[in-house]
């Protein structure tokens, strides 16, 4: 240990090892990932122009300091739904009675269609679900097994499934986040209110949420004298939020871009590595 070169060599080798393991190997594994082909096209798709500009506004203002974009899944369960009762009603009803003695088999079998799948089993392990599906198939009916992701984030309504590598393919820089001082935004586009409400929330979050701790972003807006007629996109502000008389608050282009980006945030398409079933009720 009394020779500089020895230390240098050791340090170099250990460093290259960690580079090899955590940069090179994952690059080979996931660095060349391509879009997934889904029934309704490829996923993900590049963002539209305005939303892409909004991504830069999001980065520039350091939104990532408080908002994460990652949905976690802690476990999963299965539901079984009946989509078509088939032709032999009697056998199907008997099978249903065996699978799920609690339900009104006759009514379920009568009501089941592709558009209105009827739930037979909820919250069961995979073996039970597979078994039920096999029995119904034997009886001539068609049943589907739904994959239900479970987790705190999903219970909070932050997403319908966990977020995976494919969701971030077009993000540069990726803003996964390290802190949840604000809610997760991975699926904000799905639950986002109207453009007007998002703008108001950006102008001063206390406008839309009384106890919000989010900083106001008033610098994304311009307070200017009202022209001949009021601007169409001026915010409707009243009370203590109202601008001085004869003035109006108009969003700057950055604010509109940011809103477009926020509305584009959705990581919910069911993927092979992150299955999710479309929510049965809104």
């Amino acid at each position: 240990m009394n020779h500089g070169p020895l230390i240098f060599l050791g340090v170099l080798v250990t460093f290259v090892m960690s580079w090899w393991g955590l940069i090179f190997a994952p690059q080979v594994q996931i660095g060349v990932q391509q879009n997934a082909s889904l029934v309704d096209g490829i996923y993900p798709r590049p963002r539209a122009g305005l939303a892409e500009q909004g991504h830069h506004v999001y980065v520039a203002n350091g939104c990532v300091q408080c908002h994460s974009q990652q949905v976690r899944q802690e476990s999963y369960t299965f539901d079984v739904v009946l989509t078509a009762p088939g032709t032999n009603n009697e056998i199907v009803i008997r099978a249903l009675g065996k699978i799920a003695p609690g339900i009104n088999a006759g009514a379920v079998a009568a009501a089941a269609t592709d558009q209105k799948p009827q739930t037979i089993l909820t919250n069961v392990p995979q073996g039970v679900a597979d078994d039920a599906q096999a029995r119904l198939k034997k009886a001539g009916a068609t049943a589907k097994t739904l994959f239900i992701p479970l987790g705190v984030d999903i219970a909070r309504g932050w997403g319908s499934r966990l977020t995976v590598a494919a969701d971030y393919l077009y993000d540069q820089p990726v803003q996964v986040g390290h802190s949840r001082l604000g809610p997760d935004l991975a699926n904000y586009g799905q639950r986002a209110p109207s453009t007007k409400l998002i703008l108001e929330h950006l102008y001063d979050p206390r406008l839309t949420m009384d106890k919000s701790l989010m900083p106001a972003h008033r610098y994304l807006f311009e307070t200017k004298p009202v022209g001949k007629k009021p601007s169409p996109d001026a915010l409707a502000l009243t009370g203590k939020f109202a601008p001085p008389a004869g003035h109006e608050v108009v969003p700057k282009p950055e604010a509109l871009q940011l809103v477009a980006y926020l509305q584009s945030l959705r990581a919910s398409a069911p993927l092979f590595e992150a299955p999710a079933s479309p929510a049965p009720q809104p």
Binding site: M1, G4, I30, G62, Q70, L162, Y168, S179
Partner: protein, 479 residues
């Protein structure tokens, strides 16, 4: 002055005295003072960010001072402005003292330091004006990063030259850590910048690179600097031999081998094996932590316990280091915890508690020796303010974070309530940051007073004895 001392080294084999080395290293006051200025700036920015966390309407009309700018700016000012710069300066001094050589390359060090500060300034202005790269700890835009790296090249090469200029003999653990850190930093920084900003990798690979970089920056670069300081100063101040060289050897190599592997935590959208590797590495990293803490603690126990106020800095720094190692394991295993205040609490405990206290203690030790002046003003007060400040801040964030995590995993508590119930802890942490600001200003004040006294002493000797000064110079150097 330099010429006379180096010529005396070449003619006589006796190594230079400590006072001689110190006066040759006077130029290090430049990086030290500027790093303290950055420290004050960083803590003021952290104070603004902290206030904004519980009072979001404060300063809301300024785009420069929005939370999304002040938080990363405070972090980067600390890591690049203070910790890296002061760490390099202290490391240079430790290399000189351990190698028993006078400082080599005073002029390049001065130039490197000036450009380093320029780089940090450019980088911070870039963050404030929204030109951040968007990656944690790598927010500095192009201009800032390039200047930083170029000036690092100068400073790093100077440090290597100083290591080479050492007197023959056994090396000390501090030298290993410094030498390793000198290589790790540029490799980490350039690799991460290349793969994230210049030729960006795709999708979550960015996450892998940025997680690897963040972990390397903390576990390899900053930890090495901090441990080099602790391993040097704790035996020195407690006047004891380092308890065990083999323990230090184990700690160094286990840190080198496993240090680069931690940093990924549960829930990231990365392949599962990477998450497991990260969690496993954070457990294995308890080995170097325990080895170092035991080693230094036993060293302190052997010491004669000279009542020096400075030992407190290093002792609390060591405790913070131990706690950070343990909390890193929590972070890796407990779901959601990393995303709450807890994660940031551990980060700040590491930065201000471990690295900050170690470097502040070192600066308080160095400043009188480099200036050749005596002045113990503020040492006690700034130490108390810094220690209690980080204690309050970290405790508030850690406890607040744990409570937040409890409420977060209970889906029935609305998110708004989760945040509002942690408000009290955030207010407490603001108080902690305020104490840190006071402590940092006091430290800066003390060092500036010493520098002023040094300049006055230097000027008066030049003015009053302008003619015979040529003759007197060697005498001054020997003193």
């Amino acid at each position: 002055m330099n010429g006379s001392t180096s010529s005396s080294v070449s003619t006589t084999p006796a190594p230079p005295t400590s006072a001689c080395i110190d006066s040759s290293a006077r130029i290090l006051l430049l990086p030290i003072v500027s790093s303290l200025v950055w420290l004050v700036i960083s803590s003021v920015l952290a104070l603004i960010a902290s206030v904004k966390l519980h009072s979001p309407t404060v300063l809301a009309d300024s785009s420069w001072l929005t939370y999304g700018h002040t938080r990363p700016a405070a972090n980067d000012a600390f890591v690049y402005g203070f910790a890296s710069q002061a760490g390099l300066a202290v490391a240079l001094w430790i290399l000189c003292r351990l190698g028993r050589n006078t400082l080599v390359g005073a002029l390049p060090i001065a130039i490197g330091s000036i450009f380093w500060n320029l780089g940090v300034t450019f980088g911070l202005v870039g963050i404030f004006t929204g030109h951040t790269t968007g990656f944690d700890w790598l927010e500095f835009p192009k201009a800032g990063s390039f200047i930083l790296l170029a000036s690092y090249g100068v400073l790093g090469i100077c440090a290597l030259l100083n290591f080479r200029a050492r007197q023959p003999g056994e090396t000390y653990p501090s030298q290993w850590y410094i030498l390793a850190a000198l290589f790790w930093f540029p490799w980490l920084f350039t690799t991460a910048r290349m793969l994230l900003v210049q030729f960006p990798v795709r999708g979550v690979m960015q996450l892998a690179v940025s997680g690897w970089f963040t972990n390397g920056l903390f576990t390899l670069w900053l930890t090495s600097l901090g441990l080099a300081v602790l391993l040097y100063f704790i035996p020195k101040i407690s006047q004891a031999q380092l308890f065990s060289r083999s323990l230090a050897l184990i700690a160094f190599w286990s840190l080198a081998v496993f240090g680069g592997w931690a940093g990924f935590y549960r829930g990231l959208p990365l392949p599962a094996w990477m998450i497991s590797t990260g969690a496993a590495a954070s457990v294995v990293l308890l080995v170097p932590m325990l080895a170092t803490v035991a080693n230094l603690w036993l060293t302190m126990g052997q010491g004669t316990h000279a009542k020096s106020g400075l030992l407190g800095y290093f002792k609390y720094s060591l405790i913070a280091f131990a706690l950070c190692g343990v909390f890193a394991v929590f972070n890796a295993f407990i779901p959601q915890l990393r995303l709450t205040l807890f994660g940031e609490g551990v980060e700040q405990l590491f930065l201000y508690g471990f690295v900050g206290l170690a470097l502040l203690g070192a600066i308080h030790y160095l400043a009188p020796r480099l200036t050749g002046q005596e002045n113990d003003k503020f040492v006690c007060w700034s130490g108390m303010a810094s220690t209690f400040g980080i204690l309050l801040f970290a405790a508030a964030f850690l406890i607040g974070g744990i409570l937040q995590q409890k409420r977060l995993i209970d889906g029935s508590v609305p998110f708004l309530d989760v945040m509002n119930k942690t408000k009290m802890f955030i207010r407490l942490s603001t108080l902690g940051v305020l104490l840190l600001v006071i402590g940092n200003i006091l430290t800066l004040a003390r060092v500036l007073l010493l520098v002023r006294a040094c300049c006055q002493a230097c000027c008066s000797s030049c003015c009053s004895e302008s003619k015979p000064s040529v003759k007197l110079k060697p005498a001054g150097a020997a003193r």
